[in-house]
């Protein structure tokens, strides 16, 4: 295994698959895509098993100088490892989800997905600033195509919005990167993570990166592209959009903003908190009134990602680890929820909630999966959603009880809109005969749902598997942030002990004798 460029190989396999798909017939393209993504997933497992916990910070490093200091430099730490695993885990599921739903230009569609996989792995593995930039931005091109070509009726508007937001952020980030490389004299990400930029410059650099990442996360008020993109995207597109592309923003914060500009991060923490608090309440309430399933889940994503951003800017281990787990969990759960929508959309061709009802009767196993993912989404302990949310909020509580209180209201609002959705879809009378005639999930759909369900429960019951690889990296980041970390607002102070709460005063006990006779 030593010396084998595993990361490059993981990118090469889907790339070859993509090229083959372009020239293959529909059925062949499906098979090629499935095999390519499965092989990549297996390689991902090899990567995971080869990753040495407690080993060097950067592992599986590869480096080939290209030109002008621009290098093909790859390598991963625990954080990148987890996000790569999430991507390669979701990919075969996406291919399965598109198996029957996509019937025009199948080859190109599969190629777009495989190409996107290449770019996503590249984004998380890149160790060169410009290489990262290329993958980060290029990764969105296949997504535009997937929405724009295979999307719904209003796909042009949706992809236009997607494009516009992203463009704005990218330009600013690129300028900031140029300045950074000139200042530090290197585009090597691990070096830059240790570089101390002057605080004055940090402010501007932080804002430039923020423009890009806040759109990707997305943070309120840069979120309006997301509901439209989700509604128009095909099922698998939504899965990847929610599962992986939204994580690019969070990854950006944890890889760039926090370690490279710690002072500025502390300085702007209030901004992140304010936007996140608004997002939790605002988008949850908006989710409550949606009549379109995908829009509802899209808005819920914005609310969940706000928990990620408060966790990241809590400047402590719980907040950071919580944010990472929320990202992984949200990737699985919201991906699965979009699959759940896709399953019934394929049968009835509508996303309108009111057209369904009583599905628990004719689709009991579907209702079971949907229930599990609903519960994971609202953070029921025992599922992945809880672990992330709990750690993240525990982290922020140490900085500010007020921010924690506002963000924790998300558990109430989240329960309200998700259960309201579940009730309208799975419970109630079977008012629509077409919906009542829908068959339960097929073997292919089982194969999509069951692995995610297993992962969700695993992460909820024994998250150690996922926390352990990241522990050292989070600790290093926490140490790097320690100097800049804001003080918590709790200000615990000792005081003179108060007496026991239920001390019985003496004169009452002295009444013993008389009371015994019933003299009162």
């Amino acid at each position: 295994m030593e010396g084998l460029p595993l990361l490059s190989l993981m990118m090469l396999v889907p790339l070859m698959g993509a090229l083959l798909c372009l020239f293959a017939g529909a059925q062949a393209a499906r098979l090629i895509a499935l095999v390519a993504t499965l092989v990549t997933f297996l390689l991902g497992l090899v990567l995971w098993s080869g990753y040495e916990i407690g080993g060097p910070q950067w592992q599986f490093t590869e480096r080939a100088e290209l030109f002008a200091g621009f290098a093909w430099a790859l390598g991963i730490d625990g954080i990148a490892l987890m996000l790569i695993l999430l991507s390669v885990f979701l990919m075969p599921i996406c291919i399965l989800a598109s198996w029957e739903a996509i019937d025009k230009r199948v080859g190109e569609y599969m190629a777009a997905f495989l190409f996107m996989e290449v770019l996503m792995i590249g984004t998380f593995a890149a160790q060169d600033l410009f290489l990262f930039y290329v993958f980060f931005e290029a990764g969105l091109i296949p997504m535009y195509l997937i929405i724009g070509v295979w999307g719904g009726d209003n796909r042009i508007y949706a992809s236009y919005k997607f494009f516009l937001y992203t463009l704005l952020g990218s330009v600013l980030m690129l300028i900031a990167m140029l300045w950074m490389v000139a200042e530090a004299g290197t585009s090597d990400i691990p070096t830059l993570m240790q570089y101390d930029f002057p605080p004055q410059a940090q402010t501007w650099l932080w804002l430039a990166f923020f423009a890009s990442f806040a759109v990707k996360v997305p943070m309120w008020p840069f979120h309006t592209w997301l509901p439209d993109a989700h509604v128009q995207a095909p099922t698998a597109g939504s899965v990847i959009l929610a599962g992986v592309l939204l994580k690019l923003g969070g990854y950006g914060f944890i890889r760039f903003s926090l370690p490279m500009f710690p002072e500025a991060s502390a300085q702007f923490a209030w901004l992140v908190f304010a936007l996140s608090m608004v997002a939790v309440v605002y988008t949850s309430l908006v989710a409550l009134v949606q009549a379109d399933m995908k829009k509802l889940i899209a808005y819920s994503s914005v609310a969940h990602m706000a928990i990620v951003t408060v966790g990241l800017f809590a400047f402590n281990v719980q907040g950071l680890e919580g944010a990472m787990i929320v990202m992984l969990s949200h990737g699985l759960v919201s991906g699965a929820l979009f699959l759940c929508v896709g399953v019934i959309y394929d049968r009835l061709h509508t996303r309108e909630i009111a057209r369904y009802g009583g599905l628990a009767t004719n689709m009991p196993y579907y209702a079971l999966f949907f229930l599990l993912f609903t519960m994971a989404s609202i953070g029921l302990p025992g599922t992945s959603g809880f672990v992330g949310e709990f750690l993240s909020l525990a982290g922020i509580y140490q900085i500010s009880s007020t921010v924690a209180l506002v963000c924790t209201t998300g558990i109430i609002l989240g329960a309200a809109y998700m259960l309201y959705l579940y009730r309208r879809v799975a419970f109630g009378a079977q008012s629509n005969a077409d919906a009542a005639a829908m068959p339960d999930i097929t073997a292919r759909e089982w194969a999509m749902m069951a692995p995610i369900a297993a992962a969700v429960l695993w992460m909820g019951v024994y998250p150690e598997t996922f926390l352990a690889p990241m522990r050292a990296d989070i600790a290093a980041l926490d140490a790097r942030l320690a100097a800049a970390a804001p003080k918590g607002d709790a200000q615990l102070a000792a005081g003179a002990p108060r007496g026991p709460a239920n001390a019985i005063e003496h004169h009452q006990s002295a009444d013993h004798a008389s009371a015994k006779e019933g003299a009162h």
Binding site: L285, Q318, E321, G322, R498, I504
Partner: protein, 663 residues
């Protein structure tokens, strides 16, 4: 293998097999498996409890699996067994086993039985995880787990719109409490750097006088933490303000109401306060709040209970009220009495609910007591069982004889403790509790008289009309409509019999251990020796208060529902406003709907239409598009060529980058 592992995980395993196997394994297999698992758990739990009773066992913790480790915040899956847990173990496993058995008969005609039994067993597992928790987070796991099972069981008949609504309401209202619980855990971790319950309890006295900033206010640390945790308890135990979900939860099948919404889940809040009693003892303000909320709930819920017609709703409000007793007992420091009332209440309230289920079963699913009457001779076994339950809940017993039904012992101890505590909150609790006891006696006997005495009024019920295919006019003078109520099958009567035993004798047998024995509790709750002494020396009129108010309530109910049945209508006519206020449950639902539910939907619409679409999109992307269009860039090229434009910009940027670096 430690028996606690089988007690706890047996029901989980059974639930998984029954639930996932469902129609593949069939009704009988699913029912047998889950019921057998619960009887096994109960059989293993009693020896543990008896071991603590005889003082031969000591507390232990069985570690199962690491759960989370994040910096200094770490907690495991672990099962803690001590006296307090053992009490809960026998309550949960016994009632659950009996309810499983009862459901064989009660749910016999339901098409969806494996799912029902799977949910019941899943609930039992979650409840057991709650009471065996060694850290606050696992307690929260059980807490939310029982919430999930409760949600699923309330919504078991999911085709009914009312069931779906009640299920959501239960979950969301509980989540309001859970918000407090979660913040309480966060705060506890912040202060003590641990979530382990024994470590927190050991460290709590040291934090007694410390202060902390919470939401910008400077407060006593322990008061903040305990009040936050208590908010969680209020939600789960349906205390005043967060009680609205409990009556609606009666939409679930009756065995569920008996197990979850009477005997076990709703007592989780009381359990939590008792489990954390050494911590609450360092927070006087929090304890005063517990006392006042508990006392107010016990009074408030009892008033509503006197006016409801639905037999299950009467018992539901009664449960709410009895939980209030347990809380104010804990609030004044009588944790033993609180746990004892929890223990006896589990038996007699499960009995009353299962009895009500038997009545409903006999009356063709009719739940309105206005359409009952004269059932005493038709379902005698059910009648006598419910009689025992009523005598227990109303607290019949005589202090000087040392004899009484289960509820007498525990309720009397609670009233004594509140009186003996002597402070303002305690006084308030004593009088509220005494008056609520009067109301308890009144509504309980009202239920009995309306159901079992008097003339049959059955034919007015639509359910009965349905069964006998007659209208009241056709039936004429025969107000039974020719309907014959049948006594329930043996599988339902056996649980009633066992619980009757508990309702009669549990108080008598266990009172000395629960109320007066520090050795029995063995440090698992805060034991206030001085308070126990003060309780023993309260004046005799206090000791007889429970009996006196019970007799007054009985007399009142007799007068109003047997001797002079025209009285209630006259009362309603005379005091329409008061009656309406109470009958409409103090308008809590209406107020909450106007304050929270409607505004939430309205705000959601405003944010969406005016915020997202009207402001952000209008001045954001759409505004940019308009500007771009005006600056005469062809809209067409924007729409079709944007991907390439974008790629081009990216490429240009990179070229710029490389050039910049090269120079």
């Amino acid at each position: 293998m430690h028996p606690i592992l089988i007690i706890t995980f047996g029901p989980l395993l059974a639930a998984l097999v029954a639930g996932l196997g469902n129609r593949m394994i069939g009704n009988v297999a699913a029912k047998s498996l889950t019921t057998a698992a619960l009887f096994l758990s109960a059989a293993l739990a009693w020896p543990i409890f008896l071991g603590y009773l005889s003082g031969s066992e000591s507390a232990e913790v069985v570690r199962v699996l690491k759960w989370v480790e994040s910096g200094t915040l770490s907690f495991d899956w672990a099962l803690r067994v001590d006296t307090l847990t053992a009490v809960m173990l026998v309550v949960i496993t016994s009632v659950s086993a009996l309810v499983h058995l009862y459901s064989w008969g009660y749910m016999a005609e339901d098409p969806d039985q494996p799912r029902f039994f799977a949910y019941l067993s899943l609930f039992t597992f979650a409840m057991l995880m709650l009471v065996t928790a060694d850290n606050l987070v696992q307690m929260f796991f059980g807490w939310e787990g029982v919430g999930l099972a409760s949600y699923l069981l309330i919504g078991f008949w999911y085709q009914k719109p009312s069931a779906g609504a009640a299920a959501i309401k239960a979950f969301v209202v509980n989540r309001v409490g859970d918000l407090g619980f979660m913040l309480g855990i966060f705060g506890t971790y912040l202060v003590f750097q641990t979530t382990s319950i024994p470590e927190i309890l050991a460290a709590a006295p040291g934090m007694s006088g410390s202060t902390i900033t919470f939401l910008g206010m400077r407060l006593y640390t322990m008061d903040v933490l305990c009040i936050l945790l208590f908010i969680g308890a209020m939600g789960k135990s349906a205390q005043l303000g967060l009680h609205t979900w409990l009556p609606d939860a009666m939409e679930g099948p009756t065995p569920v109401s008996a197990l979850i919404h009477a005997a076990t889940m709703v007592t989780a809040g009381v359990f939590m306060v008792c489990r954390l009693s050494p911590m609450f003892e360092t927070a006087p303000t929090a304890l005063a709040l517990v006392t006042i909320i508990g006392a107010a709930t016990c009074f408030f819920a009892a008033t509503i209970g006197t006016t409801q017609w639905d037999i299950k709703r009467v018992i539901a409000y009664s449960t709410c009220s009895q939980l209030g007793y347990m809380f104010f007992a804990a609030g004044v420091g009588a944790y033993g009495a609180a746990m004892f009332h929890l223990f006896t209440h589990a038996f007699f309230k499960a009995l009353l609910f299962l009895g009500a289920g038997s009545v409903i079963h006999a009356m063709h699913h009719e739940q309105d007591m206005r359409f009952y009457g004269g059932l005493r001779k038709h379902i005698p076994f059910t009648f006598w069982a419910m009689m025992a339950g009523t005598l227990a809940i109303t607290g019949l017993g005589v202090y000087h004889l040392g004899l009484g039904f289960a509820g007498f012992w525990s309720k009397d101890a609670i009233l004594e403790a509140a009186f003996a505590r002597g402070n303002g909150a305690g006084q308030f609790a004593f009088w509220a509790g005494a008056f609520a006891a009067l109301l308890t006696s009144f509504y309980s006997w009202r239920l009995m008289f309306l159901t079992f005495w008097g003339k049959p009024r059955w034919i007015e019920s639509e359910h009965i009309q349905h069964a006998v295919h007659k209208t009241p006019e056709e039936a004429g003078a025969d107000t039974t409509g020719g309907y014959h109520p049948h006594e329930s099958p043996l599988s339902m009567l056996v649980p009633l019999g066992v619980l009757t035993l508990g309702a009669v004798a549990a108080g008598q047998v266990f009172a000395p251990s629960f109320l007066d024995s520090a050795a029995f509790w063995n440090g698992s709750i805060f034991y206030n020796e001085a308070l126990i002494h003060a309780m023993h020396s309260v004046p005799y009129w206090v000791k007889y208060t429970a009996l006196i108010v019970m007799l007054i309530g009985l007399a009142g109910a007799y007068l109003a529902y047997i001797a002079r049945p025209e009285l209630p209508a006259k009362f309603v006519q005379r005091f329409g406003a008061i009656h309406n206020f109470v009958y409409r449950k103090w308008y809590f639902d209406e107020v909450y709907d106007a304050l929270f539910v409607r505004p939430a939907f309205a705000l959601g619409r405003i944010f969406w239409q005016w915020g997202d679409i009207g402001t952000i999109d209008r001045f954001g992307p759409n505004g940019v598009a308009a500007v771009v269009a005006r600056s005469s860039l062809a809209a067409r090229s924007l729409q079709s060529g944007y991907v390439y434009t974008y790629a081009l910009i990216m490429l240009l940027g990179l070229v710029a980058a490389v050039t910049y670096v090269l120079l």
